[in-house]
């Protein structure tokens, strides 16, 4: 352009040259925008598919089938001596009460095999429900009451429509006889679906209808709390030291390279390390939130350190100079000025690390978190499992009822992940400052 001018070609105004190329430039821009939009739409589509699949499979798990039976709290069964001794009440044979109640609703069923089939319609957990009722209110003894009892998982699946009633009997899990009973109960209004509180208040169980995520949720909570406690201060401290205080030499370069490498190491390796070092050498109890947190801290540390260093790097050096210039010590400079400005980035990195830790399974399998633990953990050193491992275990179970519970647990996990990422966004907003 300049040459043409210098060569004495007819003078061309800059605006003409600009206009000539404008169309091409805009076309390029449009193409780029369409490409970006396409990528986003495709991504959203897959996310929507994933969510639709999980929710479609899992939403029924938030409901549970109950069967209403007229239970007579027979004093001769519960408390033959009439002493109301809690120990006796606790040990009484409540299953017998349920059998009796069923006999009343289905008087025509008498054959031994049939009564057993009838009994299996009610969950084995129902008798403990009756026991709790009696323990809470001993006055019930001697009365008769309509009680909603937890149905067995097969009945639950049938009522929810996961078992096709039109299939021939040989291919159906629920036999014709039971199907008839269920239909009769349904017509009498003795079957109802209620909100599944058990799912949120119980630990896991071999019986799907008694299995809940409370144990795994508490395990995850304790684990994450400890992981945060370990990895955030160490990560931020390490980043601060490496970025602001450490001399820049070959050693620190080596450390930097290794931290970046650690971030890419498969997580199961951290599990093996935890098994060998924390459990093998230091004797940390296995299957506990403590050991899980130690391993997950190792895993998330590189993420936090890298994010924190990037956040520190993005703080303008003029702020450091300003602080040092009025005589602040290096530590004061960091604590009063640099750290607050770097905080949003550090928190984002930490929450990403935590989200990663929340969803991690592989290394935890190595350190015994896969054990079958029914009790809800009560502390950092009580045996427990975590949500993703629970999902893994349930996904492995053959019962149809565990399929929906798996999906429901995934929904809970996703909800927590979304919550955490939302917190990250909010924290960023809160701490973000202009300079």
């Amino acid at each position: 352009m300049n040459n043409a001018r210098a060569a004495g070609a007819p003078p061309q105004r800059t605006i003409d040259i600009v206009n000539a190329s404008l169309k091409r430039r805009y076309a390029k821009e449009r193409r780029f925008r369409l490409l970006g939009l396409g990528a986003v739409v495709l991504g959203l589509l897959f996310v929507a598919l994933l969510f639709a699949d999980i929710v479609g499979k899992g939403y029924t798990a938030f409901q549970q089938t109950y069967i209403q039976l007229p239970v007579t709290f027979d004093a001769s069964v519960i408390d033959p001596e009439g002493a109301l001794d809690p120990e006796t009440l606790r040990r009484a044979n409540y299953a017998a009460l349920i059998r009796k109640a069923q006999r009343e609703v289905f008087p025509e069923v008498t054959a031994r095999r049939d009564t057993r089939a009838l009994g299996s319609m009610i969950s084995v957990g129902a008798s403990s429900h009756l026991r709790d009722m009696v323990l809470a209110d001993p006055d019930l003894i001697g009365t008769t009451k309509e009680v909603w009892l937890l149905a067995d998982d097969d009945i639950d699946m049938l009522v929810k429509g996961h078992i096709d009633r039109t299939l021939p009997e040989s291919e159906r899990r629920v036999k014709d006889q039971t199907l008839g009973w269920v239909e009769r109960l349904e017509s009498e209004g003795r079957i109802e679906k209620r909100f599944n509180t058990i799912f949120f208040t119980h630990g896991t169980s071999r019986e799907p209808e008694l299995a809940g995520i409370a144990g795994a949720l508490m395990g995850s909570f304790y684990t994450l709390a400890l992981t945060l406690l370990f990895s955030f201060p160490i990560g931020v401290g390490a980043a601060l030291y490496l970025e602001e205080f450490a001399p820049k030499n070959r050693w620190t370069d080596l450390i930097e390279v290794n931290i970046n490498n650690l971030a890419a190491v498969p997580s199961i390796v951290f599990g093996l390390l935890g098994l060998a070092v924390f459990i093998g050498i230091f004797g940390v109890p296995r299957s506990t939130p403590l050991i899980a947190a130690l391993v997950l801290s190792l895993m998330t540390l590189p993420t936090i350190i890298i994010a924190s260093r990037a956040a520190l790097k993005s703080v303008p050096p003029s702020i450091r100079e300003a602080a040092l210039g009025v005589g602040a010590s290096p530590l004061q400079t960091q604590l009063h000025h640099v750290l607050p400005l770097a905080m949003p980035g550090m928190l984002t990195g930490t929450i990403i690390g935590m989200a990663q830790a929340l969803g991690e399974t592989a290394p935890l399998l190595m350190i015994g978190m896969i054990a079958f633990i029914v009790d809800i953990p009560s502390g950092f050193t009580s045996p427990s499992t975590v949500l993703p491992v629970q999902i893994f275990l349930w996904a492995d179970s053959p019962e149809r009822a565990f399929v929906e519970r798996t999906s429901a647990a995934i929904m809970v996990l996703l909800a927590f992940l979304i919550l955490m990422n939302l917190t990250a966004v909010l924290l960023r907003r809160r701490f973000e400052r202009r300079w």
Binding site: K248, P317, W435
Partner: protein, 287 residues
């Protein structure tokens, strides 16, 4: 960067003819670098940014109760030299300072010397305004707070308002002291930074183009402040305004491509420069 400066000097007629014809002028400092009553004494200071030398064997004294102005073309090393005087260059990776710089007879680059109290003693106003992203009040109060200069909130309030008044910013910000200092205009930020520096009462004040973004009225206020501070303190000021140098300073130092070319009484430098480069510069043939 260095090439542009070289090119610039080559293109400038007066310089290039002298250099091309081989009669390269001496870069040894003309004039007396010493003063009778020195506060800071710099001898043979070299500064390197990596392999590039930015300051070449500069010796200069800064006396008690005097204002020394440093002038010279852009990129000649004025800021670099100024930043050596309170060890601000320590924060730059790859920056190396040799030679000796003393404050009251104490070598400030001594291994055992702590730069933290040094910087409380030798304050600095940076070339680019750099307020903290905190409130205006907090900006001014920060130094006093960390050094424990005041005993209570009332004293601190008093110090903040006095400092802002001296910097000529009080009337503009007195109603919004709790608003972020970064929300001020460029010139206001510059004065805020001046207020922040004088709030800790440093005994030597280094000012790097403190009035570059100020209108004539605000400039006059700052120049008045400098004059007032001179009664007790020593001041080194970098400026591109020769009128300003003439107004506020007693001595002037002319830098050129890392060399200190000439030092002398401000009057003498502006009326009767001894070195040809100085003359070219102040008469507007260079820079």
């Amino acid at each position: 960067m260095s090439t542009t400066v070289d090119e610039m000097s080559r293109r400038t007629g007066a310089m290039s003819s002298a250099e091309l014809s081989g009669e390269r002028e001496s870069r040894a400092t003309v004039g007396d670098v010493t003063v009778a009553n020195p506060r800071m004494v710099c001898r043979d200071v070299d500064v390197w940014y990596g392999a590039k030398q930015a300051i070449k064997g500069v010796s200069l004294d800064i006396g008690k109760n005097e204002v020394v102005s440093m002038i010279g073309p852009s990129g000649c090393g004025k800021s670099t030299f100024l930043r050596c005087l309170n060890r601000m260059n320590d924060t730059i990776d790859g920056c190396r300072v040799t030679g000796s710089i003393q404050l009251d007879g104490q070598d400030i680059y001594d291994k055992g010397l702590d730069p933290v109290p040094l910087r409380a003693q030798v304050g600095m106003v940076f070339q680019k305004p750099n307020p903290f992203p905190k409130s205006i009040y907090e900006n001014v109060a920060y130094g006093a707070r960390i050094h424990g200069l005041t005993n209570n909130k009332a004293e601190l309030d008093e110090l903040v308002s006095a400092s802002l008044q001296k910097a000529g910013l009080w009337n503009e910000v007195k109603d919004r002291l709790d608003q972020p200092g970064t929300g001020l205009s460029g010139g206001q930020q510059q004065r805020l930074c001046i207020a922040r520096t004088i709030a800790v009462s440093p005994e030597v004040i280094l000012m790097d183009e403190p009035c570059s973004a100020l209108d004539p009225i605000a400039t006059a206020i700052i120049e008045e402040l400098i004059d007032e501070l001179r009664a007790n303190y020593s001041i080194a000021i970098v400026t591109h305004s020769m009128q300003q140098a003439a107004r506020v300073s007693q001595r002037t130092a002319y830098f050129h491509l890392g060399d200190l070319i000439e030092v002398g009484e401000t009057n003498q430098i502006f009326t009767n420069p001894k070195h040809r480069l100085t003359e070219d510069y102040i008469t507007g043939r260079f820079g």
